[in-house]
């Protein structure tokens, strides 16, 4: 267990002490700055100009928009929508190389002489989650600052809502990270791992779509891929968002099981 903790912590140094990690962070910071400045700030102004049931809602006629309009802090509503789609993409890119390149280089052999395969697999997964948690935290903090610049009296509700979003986003990213842990155990480079993820994604989407159309009782297959609950998440708010948390959690358990199996059986 202590090895899992050590390996997880080592992942942080991979992100914050290497050129590649710092480049990824810079790219994230720049993209996030653009999102914050133009998307969140701009859209929040737009939302504030309208009221629930107003022009925007009637134009889109959407329960999703209506739900978001009801949020007390529009910046966080926009943050929520953007994060639900943007963070999974970041997650796939950042976590693609959990074990792949180390395996190709032989570094994993040197580590395996001191840590079990389970320790390496779960340590790397936990390390990637720690990095993502930090990125989510940073992104939320910048959004909170944006809210405070507009109206500092909203501090308490902003923090409360931020915490809900923080927990939710962690849960949303769990299965994506687990998926990348699995494919990384199969691949020999980050690029190969990403390709495997895309292939698995497309094939499963096609197969599950076809099966669901032929056998309506198999509609639940829609829930198998990470992110399956995201569109439904946009229609609920507050702690109610966690009502759907069982989907990513079950997905994570299954994907980690598959990844562990791959890690145990693979030859290095």
């Amino acid at each position: 267990m202590s090895n899992v903790f050590l390996l997880a912590r080592y992942e942080l140094s991979r992100m914050f002490m290497t050129r590649r990690g710092l480049l990824s962070l810079t790219a994230f910071a720049l993209i996030w700055f653009l999102v914050l400045r133009y998307a969140i700030f701009g859209a929040a102004q737009f939302f504030m100009a309208d009221a629930p049931g107003g022009l925007i809602v009637s134009f889109f006629n959407s329960t999703t928009i209506n739900n978001l309009m009801s949020w007390q802090i529009p910046e966080l509503a926009v943050f929520w929508v953007i994060s639900l789609y943007l963070f999974p993409v970041f997650c796939i890119m950042l976590t693609a190389d959990q074990t792949a390149s180390d395996k190709a280089r032989g570094t994993l052999r040197l580590i395996h002489l001191r840590a079990t395969r389970d320790g390496i697999f779960f340590g790397r997964f936990a390390g990637q989650m720690l990095i993502l948690i930090m990125l989510i935290g940073l992104a939320l903090m910048t959004t909170v600052v944006l809210v405070m610049l507009r109206d500092s009296s909203l501090l308490i509700p902003t923090l409360r809502l931020s915490f809900i979003l923080f927990v939710n986003l962690i849960v949303v990213l769990l299965p994506y990270t687990a998926l990348m842990a699995w494919v990384s155990a199969m691949a020999r480079s980050a690029r190969q791992a990403t390709l495997y993820a895309v292939i698995i994604w497309i094939i499963f989407s096609l197969v599950s779509g076809w099966l669901a159309s032929r056998f309506p009782e198999l509609l639940m297959l829609d829930k198998v891929l990470p992110g399956a609950q995201i569109s439904n998440l946009l229609q609920v708010s507050g702690w109610n968002t966690l009502l759907l948390a069982y989907i990513p959690i079950v997905q994570t358990v299954v994907l980690l099981f598959l990844g562990r199996l791959m890690m145990q059986r693979s030859d290095w």
Binding site: T18, T107, R109, L110, H112, L113, A115, R117, W268
Partner: protein, 301 residues
């Protein structure tokens, strides 16, 4: 103490049997060589012992445990043939992490890493990245990581491959210095090197165990090896002269200038003196007169 036991150990890649029913027991002690031609299964055997590969069939225990088991952490160390450190981190940073995984605290790990880098005479590499080192230095750093802690068994897969002669000599010295208290198993193609370092040889060929040779025994078992500076007379004439010495059973020649004399120790215990007398009498210049056979002669005679 039993280091390694294999029973019908088999590793199959598709139709190819990299290891074919290997039965082997090795005891702790002086360095052991693992030899065989390319594709003999040496690296595969090392990889199975370290837990990098899973055996297809058979049983194997290392220091009484299954390969890859947590019980072996810190007790089994290895220098895998093509393993590299992560080029993005300094050597010290990575070795400290290895030491921490072996149970050292942060401060102890730092001290231990500095100790092993000192041992391989590369203390200055602590803050350097692997890419800034030469091939020989990288090998020595990788050797240093095997010395972290107090391993009981160290596997070295081709530790001198690609090294220049001075680095080969350094590596041989490092192995000899580290060999007290730990057993090395060394795989290599360089029989001369192995002969200088090891006391017994495990011989693999086509994935099968061909035999185990005790080098020390072979050195004193009725053989003399004579290496000439040049061949002043036809080979047959020299062979005939050496064959005429009392107790000599057979003289064989191997290119370019080596004679292997097989003799009966009970008949002639001072044969080396007789050989010297013949050399002096004929004014034949020799380079070496070695008691015993070279490893090459023992294995491939």
């Amino acid at each position: 103490m039993k280091l390694l036991t294999c029973q019908s150990l088999t590793k199959q890649y598709g139709d190819v049997r990299a290891l074919d029913s290997v039965d082997l027991t090795l005891e702790a002690g002086r360095p052991i060589a693992l030899i065989g031609p390319n594709g003999a299964g040496k690296t595969t055997l090392f990889s199975v012992v370290c837990g990098f590969l899973q055996a297809s069939k058979g049983e194997i225990t290392v220091l009484g445990h299954k390969p890859g088991s947590g019980e072996l952490h810190g007790r089994l160390a290895a220098l895998p043939q093509d393993a590299q450190l992560d080029p993005r981190f300094s050597i010290g940073h990575q070795l400290v992490m290895f030491a921490r995984l072996q149970g050292y605290s942060s401060k102890q790990a730092n001290r231990e890493v500095r100790r092993v880098l000192e041992q391989v005479t590369l203390p200055e590499t602590f803050t350097m990245k692997p890419e800034s080192l030469s091939h020989g230095m990288r090998k020595r750093v990788l050797f240093a990581q095997t010395l972290l802690g107090e391993p009981e068994l160290i596997l070295l897969d081709e530790p001198t491959a690609g090294l220049d002669p001075p680095n080969v000599k350094v590596m041989r010295r490092l192995i000899s210095e580290a060999a007290s208290g730990v057993t090395f198993i060394i795989s290599s193609h360089n029989l001369d090197e192995l002969e200088k370092v090891c006391s017994s040889v495990v011989h693999l060929e086509n994935g099968k165990l061909k035999g185990i040779v005790d080098i020390d025994n072979a050195k004193t078992s009725g053989y003399l090896t004579l290496v000439m500076v040049e061949l002043p007379e036809p080979i047959e004439q020299i062979t005939r002269a050496l064959g005429a010495i009392s107790g000599v059973k057979e003289v064989s020649f191997s290119s370019p200038n080596r004679f292997l004399i097989n003799y009966d120790v009970n008949v002639n215990a001072t044969i080396d003196l007789n050989v010297m007398q013949i050399l002096i009498a004929n004014d034949w210049k020799y380079r070496q007169l070695v008691n015993g056979r070279t490893l090459e002669d023992q294995l491939y005679a």
